[in-house]
Symmetry: C2
Subunit: 363 residues, 2 copies
Amino acid sequence: MAVERTRFAPGDLRDFVGRSLRACGAGSEDARLVGEVLVASDVRGIESHGVARLEGFYVDRIRDGIIDPKAIESVLRETPTSLAVDANDGLGHPISVRIMRRTIDKALANGCAVGTVARSNHFGIAGYYAMLALEHDCIGIASTNAGRLAAPTNGRELMLGTNPFAFAIPAENGDAFVLDMATTTVAYGKLEIAKRLGKALMPGWAIDAAGNPTTDPDAGMAGALLPLGGFGTDSGGHKGYGLGLLSDILCGVLGGGVFSPRMPPSRQILEAAITSHFFMAIRIDGFRDVAEFKRDVSRSLAEMRASEPAPGFERVFTAGEPEKIRAREHEQHGVGLDPVVVESLSRTAAKLGIEPPRRFAGP
Amino acid sequence: MAVERTRFAPGDLRDFVGRSLRACGAGSEDARLVGEVLVASDVRGIESHGVARLEGFYVDRIRDGIIDPKAIESVLRETPTSLAVDANDGLGHPISVRIMRRTIDKALANGCAVGTVARSNHFGIAGYYAMLALEHDCIGIASTNAGRLAAPTNGRELMLGTNPFAFAIPAENGDAFVLDMATTTVAYGKLEIAKRLGKALMPGWAIDAAGNPTTDPDAGMAGALLPLGGFGTDSGGHKGYGLGLLSDILCGVLGGGVFSPRMPPSRQILEAAITSHFFMAIRIDGFRDVAEFKRDVSRSLAEMRASEPAPGFERVFTAGEPEKIRAREHEQHGVGLDPVVVESLSRTAAKLGIEPPRRFAGP
């Protein structure tokens, strides 16, 4: 079951993503930003959203003319606290970094602000953008809609994506609360992993194509993901469904973009993603002294972490803490990538006529 | 199992709550607002947060000196887009209506705004406040922290309340998306109902006092509620835990109030509630033409509702729709209350020397 992983220094992966995107025609700053966001995902241990997606989600889509790597966004509407732009089918990461930064600037000038991006592409991990607010002593929020993979409560059709929300709140000494969560019970990748391992799904993860709950990976993959809370309403499935639709409305409808069911099914990898994004920043000192606020957030996080664990658990974590622990480890010892991902990076290098990323040498 | 319910016209219940609160010393406008919010909960079919709470949560706490019905809030900090107030142990409903209204006013003037309330008391249903934004063509958000009832993921101690979030988004012709959800799998009342009916809990609802998953109502009531997503992380319990802690930070920490674990355990009914609240409003026309936005929200809601149901389900609903259907029915035919609630209202009337509410006569 154990697969041999190859390790790469995060900086070398960022460099490779940047070179790949430049070779596809992206400007150097945009290419650099895609590398920043993709590799941040691998560094935080969220492999599904990292360089594993470089080839299929970005390079191939650019080469197939689905993503325009040179797109310039159009401003749809702007006020001192709002900004709505159309990404014009450009790469999701650079436009999202830019719009989140402008949203933060507006919040710094005016207290709070919201930005939306329509007709964009996959932007990677929502948490990256929410976290941009941290160093500005703001609370950051980010969401995106995505290709359809999930059924609504009581339903059986693919109507919503995994539509994540991320929230970032600064604490003392660089610590933070960073919640980055899909609004489905699990990501589609969990079904693929279960299938690969020959394991059953857990109840509440998926329904089959007829709309009945299933624990069979193949049936689930042919059916739909369930919203957070699982099947029906007994364990709160309507809450996950509600959050998923909330994301679709805040991103796709408020942003003036595409919303379900006009979103493509997620499995059709070479369709346009046409995702929309939502960003928000709130300045903390509109409410309290920032140092006091951070002290209390740190206190809250420390109290959660110090609370009694349930039998069989080492301790209680807070949102974003496991990712931060992994990030420290990965920055030091490199990111380990599966053979299938390493192969994809080599294939990408060959397609683009560039050098593949250097393997990790030290320390 | 069927209990005989007594029906009351919503207006008569509002009148009774108002008279009760005035008899306790609240000003007439504050008393009226408590009636508005409490009865809105019954009308929407959320009986747990309606007049069933009048005696224990409000009247008795005022009479015991825990809630100050004449409290005047102090402004802690204010900017054009932010407002932080201390409720000084006053009633939660009137201050929340006022601060949400001022938050909406600030959003109307400046695009978006956030308000917080510290040292307040139970404010009823979060959805009421979020919905105040609808008629102003704003998106409304509300949250509150609450007495401790839930354990964090991996934990066994009571560290968080059911900490709900509500989101309200206007659609065409008075329709709306209204998500009002506790961040625990279920409310504590579901455990009490299971016990009364002699039924097992569903997995993912609760742990026992030792921190192990349980389906025994007594064990769960002596233990803790689980976050939305259930036990551990396999079905996303860490997401519900994250949302619960998010609420506690946005309300209790950002608002400068009390945050877990200094919040009292929820079961100690005659302790101070010392809850904090969080409100936000976002002006829609900062992004799009309001009529186009509402048309698209209506289209999104209609598409969800028209999507194929799973076997055994009549159809797909959208957030807030079942409550709206019940509200129409209740406004016309009266709200049916359980004998135990009717008895509580009579006892309240006797305590305060006022007439009990008139029973429903027509139509």
